[in-house]
């Protein structure tokens, strides 16, 4: 029979972690490069929270607080939390698209680190997340939000929000693997994140709610995270909410990361 003419390199046995990191970077590039073709995507990420900011500030602001600007100062950190939670859905959405379109199969047929496709996606989504936090903060400041702490506080706020999103992304991955089409990830996001963020202290002070609801609002991690951000951005950091938020993130990651990884393994 025909001899194999292409000079075949001797296959290696496994991927070194360093090479795996390079695969991850390449795959993150893949998720980010599309922004070049569709720069609007950068705004898409923040259109909905932006509408919320405008709507709540100018429609409800005067009624809820003394003035729209006062209200903005109260609400913006919370909207940032809401925005970050919605943004975590991008991970599940993208993963599900890859699974249903067969891109995931193609990647798995390549000699790359097994964990690189997921890691690359999460890395890219973290970059997008950072961008959308910055955008929201910037818009807030244009509208009259004032940072009462300093650069360190802002940095802390970014770090805390990114860390929490990274943990919540595992829920998104799990959903992305379990549902049959990308749109269902969005639907899940709306069904869970809307009630979760509205039954928190993001939009109105806890004291204004009925007692039974207050009990929930106080344990809702969205409230805790919003409090932590208010501290970091406005009134000076408070260790209580920051530590509790980190513990929540850790708890979510410990529960959902293994579930998500197992679901990915099983789906493919």
């Amino acid at each position: 029979m025909t001899t194999i003419s292409a000079p075949a390199p001797v296959p290696t046995r496994r991927v070194s972690p360093l090479v795996g990191i390079r695969h991850t970077m390449t795959l993150a590039w893949r998720s980010l490069v599309q922004i070049k073709h569709n720069p609007m995507e950068l705004l898409d990420l923040s259109i909905q929270p932006l509408m919320f900011v405008l709507l709540f500030t100018y429609v409800f602001g005067g009624a809820i607080a003394d003035s729209p600007t006062d209200y903005l100062r109260f609400m913006l950190p919370g909207i940032m939390v809401q925005n970050a939670l919605f943004a975590t859905m991008t991970t599940g959405f993208g993963l599900n698209t890859d699974l249903t379109k067969g891109v995931f199969d193609r990647l798995r047929s390549l000699p790359i680190a097994r964990w690189a496709p997921l890691a690359g996606r999460i890395l890219a989504d973290t970059v997008k997340q950072a961008w959308s936090i910055a955008l929201l903060l910037g818009i807030g400041m244009v509208l009259g939000f004032r940072i009462g702490t300093g650069p360190l506080g802002v940095l802390g706020a970014f770090a805390l929000l990114l860390a929490f999103s990274l943990a919540a992304a595992w829920i998104s991955v799990l959903v992305g693997v379990l549902v049959s089409e990308p749109d269902k990830v969005q639907i899940f996001g709306f069904m869970v994140i809307f009630p979760l963020t509205f039954t928190s202290n993001v939009f109105v002070p806890t004291e204004s709610m009925p007692g039974w609801l207050q009990a929930w609002v106080k344990v809702n991690p969205v409230s805790t995270l919003a409090d932590a951000l208010r501290g970091l951005l406005v009134s000076g950091p408070e260790s209580g909410p920051i530590v509790t938020s980190l513990l929540w993130g850790l708890g979510i990651a410990v529960v959902f990361a293994p579930l998500a990884v197992r679901a990915v393994m099983r789906r493919v």
Binding site: A6, S109, I112
Partner: protein
Amino acid sequence: MSYAIRAEGLVRRFGETTALAGVDLGVRAGTVFGLLGPNGAGKTTAVRVLATLLRPDAGTATVAGYDVFRQAHQVRQVIGLTGQYASVDETLTGTENLLLIGRLLGYSRGDARARARQLLAEFHLSDAADRAAKTYSGGMRRRLDLAASLVGRPRVLFLDEPTTGLDPRSRTELWGIVRDLVGSGVTVLLTTQYLEEADQLADEIAVIDHGRVIAQGTSEELKAKVGGQALVVRPADPGDLAMVVGVLREVAGAEPELNQHTATVPVSGGDVLPAVVRRLEDADVTIAELALRGASLDEVFLSLTGHRAEDGTELAEVPA
């Protein structure tokens, strides 16, 4: 003779469904192997197992001498896979799709770019190179998908229904590409529902149905296996077709197949032909054409599986 792909006793179940019920395959290096079967036969499952994407419940397989489970990483370094549905990133351009693969395979930026440009040219996609793949036609997407599986110059290539959905010209073109690849030493395993495709391309064919290989051999061997010949009769007056069918049924002892103007029946013995001629003469039927020809792969398929290749409907309800 060295085998590029070997599989023994592959079994894979999905819940109640047995997608593979003990599949044995041997594909010699440098040849094209056609896996032929109707919808739901288990073709995609077999390809996914051999391409390290799916673990079988039982059985063993090697590709280029590497075990597909224990040495999956090595296998991935020598294979290319074009799945049944084009698996390109639709938000990326053609160039970016190929760059991505090249970079993941460890090419330098420049090498990956050069390879992408070369493949795009080869697949007539240069003009669309910088357009997002979601703007591509189905055929273009398929070609990009095939190009993507060739970036790493695989030694063994899996093509799962590569020409489904292609127009006849693109199909012929793709056949040409496959022949060139084989000419350069690549081993190709392709699945298809088209008998003609298997006939045209494959050095060896395995007919698969309900997760089982029910026949294997060259297309000539398969045709011979079925016993060979078919009698085609075309009456001068199409109105006599019913009469012709009746005679054929009686003499050949099989149900004739009707086309627009002809009736065809498989025959085995040599005495059928004169008997048919005599009976039709007695019945005053004028014959415009009467021919004895070798069985087509189509008939092989029918006789092996009991149903037509394109006809998957009957299968859908039957739990394998």
